[in-house]
Symmetry: C2
Subunit: 333 residues, 2 copies
C-alpha cells in the first residue's frame, strides 16, 4: 500500500486493515484492542479532560512532526492541571492519496512520544476525505488525566507575591515553523521545543513543591498566558524583560519579521506561578531539564484593579504586554 | 462579523471573542467557563470514552447538519455501551472565510441536540486554517459517559440464541447525503435518521431489560455491525431479509445506484442483541420511538466455526452478507 485511499475511511474491510496493521500495531494495549464503540476506563473519581486538533504545516519540522505534537500537546494540557496523563483518543483526518509511509512515520512518532508520559491511546477514529478537501493530515487527540496529588492548580489561583517562572527559552516552535515554510530560504540551528512536559511536572509534584498555576505557552505565546492569568487571578504581573530567556536565533528571526518573541508559539515550554518560598526548589527541578529556566517576574496587587502585564526593560522603562492580535502564523500547531 | 478569519484561530484577542460570543454563549456551563487547560470532571469510578471527527458534505442536509451529527454521533457511541452521555469536548477546524452565520447555525444545532441527552460540552479547541486547506468545517467531539446501570454491553457478549433487533428502517442518512450531493437532481421525501439514541437506551436500561450488545449502524451500515458481531462473539447470525425494514425511497435509490441498503450509513439507527425472552419488551420500547422497529434474526452456534452473517431471502435462498468493501460515499459523517 503506497497511498491512503478513500476506502480506508469507509468503515469496511480496508479500514479494518489500516486500523489493525498500522494503528493497533503501534498503539497496542488491552483497552484499545477491545474495539467497542467506546473504551471503558477505570478512574479514581476525578479526571482532567482536554482536547486539541493539530493542523501544523509542514507536517515534519526540526525537532518533531504532527504526531509528536499531537501527543505532547494534549498530554501537556493535562499536566498543566497537575493531572497524570493516562488515556488519549486519537482521530485521524487524512486526505486521499496521502503517503502511507509518512502516515507510518507519524504514528511511530506518536508511539515514541506516548512512552514519555506513559499515556495510552484507547480509542480512535479514521476519516479519509477526497483530494483537495483537507491538506494532508489533521489529528485530534483528546486526553483524560488522573489526580494522584492533592494540589489544585488553576489560572485563577495566582496570588499577589507569587513568582512567575519560565521553564526554558521561548519562541522556538513558532520560529522553527516560520523557518520551515516554503517561502523562507534561511538556514539555522533552530529546533522546535516540542516536548512532553509531564516528567518535569511529575517531579515538581513528587517533591511536594507548592504550585499555584502552570500553563504551556502555545498559540499566543507567553503573552497570551500572562494576560489570561492577570484577568483570571485579578493580579498585575511585573515581568523583567532581561530575565526572559530568548535564543539568538529566535531574536534574530523576530527582528527580521518584526515579531515579538513573547507572542511566538511554544510546544514544550511552560510558565509557572509559585510562592516565592518555592522559587529555588522549582528552579532546581526546571534546570535539570533546561539550563535556561528562569524567574521572570512577580505577581502583585494593583490598587486600581488594573490587571495587566507590565514589561520592565533593563533601562528602567515600562510598557504593557498585550494579548496578541491578528494571526502571526496559521497552522502552527 | 461576516466571515471567520485566520485571526479567530490565533490564540489572541479575536479567538477569545469568538469563543466567548459564540461557543460559551451556546454551550454555557460552569465547567466550560473555567477556561483552564483541561476541564476537571467528577466521575463515579468508571467511564466510557469515545471520539469521532465529522466531515459530512454537504454541511446541511435534510434532517440535520454537521452540528447535530457531531453531538448525536458521539453521544450514541457512549449510549451503545450503556453509558449515560455526560461530557463532551468539541474541536472546530474551520476554513478561513467560512460564514459566521453558518457557524452559528451549526453551534445552535449542537446546543439543541445536547439537550436531548443532557450531555455538556466542557472543553474545546478552535483552529482556523487558510482557504483551500480544509473544505468548510470539520468537527471533532470526544465523549465521556458514566455508568449508572450495572449491565455490561459488548460486541463480544452475544450468545447463541440471542435475538437481533433493529430500532428502525435503515439507510436514510446515507441515501439522504447521496441525494444532497450536487450532481444528483432527484427530489424525494428522504430525511436523515440523524438522532440521539440515549433516550431509547435509557428507557431500555430503566426497565431492566437485559441487553447483550447495542451498536449504531454508521459507516458500513448494518453489514459492518453484523459482521463485527459475528467475529467478536464467535456466532453465526441468521438474518431474514424480509424483516429488515427499508423504506421505498431508500430501496429505489439503491436500485438506481446498485447499492445494498444494508451497507448504507445510518446516524440514529441501532442494532440490538437481546435474549429471546426480552424481545417483546424491547420491541415495545423501540416502537415508542419508531413503528418500524423489527426483530430481524437470531444468533446461533456454528459447528464449523464459520462466524458469518447469513441472509435468508423470502424465497428460501441464502447468501452471505459480507463486510462492505470500497467506499460507497466519502464524507458521509
Amino acid at each position: 500500500m503506497q497511498q491512503i485511499q478513500l476506502s480506508h475511511g469507509g468503515g469496511g474491510q480496508e479500514m479494518n486493515r489500516l486500523i489493525k496493521d498500522l494503528f493497533f500495531h503501534h498503539f497496542t494495549n488491552k483497552i484499545l484492542l477491545k474495539m467497542e464503540d467506546a473504551a471503558i476506563l477505570p478512574t479514581n473519581g476525578k479526571i482532567a479532560f482536554t482536547t486539541d486538533s493539530f493542523t501544523v504545516s509542514p507536517l515534519f519540522f526540526a525537532g518533531g512532526d504532527i504526531g509528536k505534537l499531537a501527543i505532547a500537546g494534549t498530554v501537556n494540557d493535562l499536566a498543566m492541571m497537575g493531572a497524570k496523563p493516562e488515556y488519549l483518543s486519537c482521530s485521524f483526518m487524512i486526505e486521499e492519496g496521502f503517503s502511507y509511509a509518512d502516515l507510518k512515520t507519524i504514528v511511530q512518532s506518536m508511539q515514541k512520544e506516548l512512552a514519555v508520559s506513559g499515556a495510552k491511546i484507547v480509542c480512535g477514529d479514521t476519516k479519509v476525505v477526497p483530494r483537495g478537501t483537507l491538506d494532508g493530515v489533521f489529528i485530534n487527540t483528546t486526553g483524560v488525566g488522573s489526580f494522584y496529588h492533592s494540589q489544585t492548580l488553576s489560572a485563577s489561583a495566582i496570588q499577589a507575591g507569587d513568582a512567575i517562572l519560565l521553564s526554558r527559552d521561548i519562541g522556538c516552535h513558532g520560529s522553527c515553523i516560520l523557518m520551515a515554510r516554503d517561502a523562507l530560504k534561511l538556514s539555522s540551528n533552530l529546533i522546535s521545543d516540542c516536548a512532553t512536559l509531564w516528567p518535569v511536572v511529575e517531579m515538581l509534584l513528587d517533591k511536594n513543591i507548592t504550585l499555584h498555576a502552570l500553563r504551556d505557552a502555545t498559540r499566543g505565546g507567553i503573552s497570551a498566558v500572562l494576560n489570561e492569568w492577570c484577568v483570571a487571578s485579578e493580579v498585575q504581573l511585573d515581568i523583567n524583560e532581561e530575565n526572559i530567556p530568548v535564543s539568538d536565533e529566535v531574536n534574530g528571526l523576530c527582528e527580521l519579521y518584526g515579531f515579538e518573541s513573547y507572542d511566538l508559539a511554544n510546544e514544550g515550554t511552560m510558565v509557572l506561578a509559585v510562592p516565592q518560598s518555592e522559587v529555588a526548589a522549582t528552579l532546581a527541578v526546571l534546570r535539570l531539564f533546561s539550563v535556561s529556566a528562569s524567574h521572570i517576574g512577580n505577581a502583585c496587587h494593583n490598587e486600581e484593579g488594573n490587571h495587566k502585564v507590565i514589561l520592565h526593560s533593563p533601562w528602567g522603562s515600562r510598557r504593557y504586554l498585550d494579548l496578541p492580535q491578528g494571526e502571526l502564523l496559521p497552522r502552527i500547531c
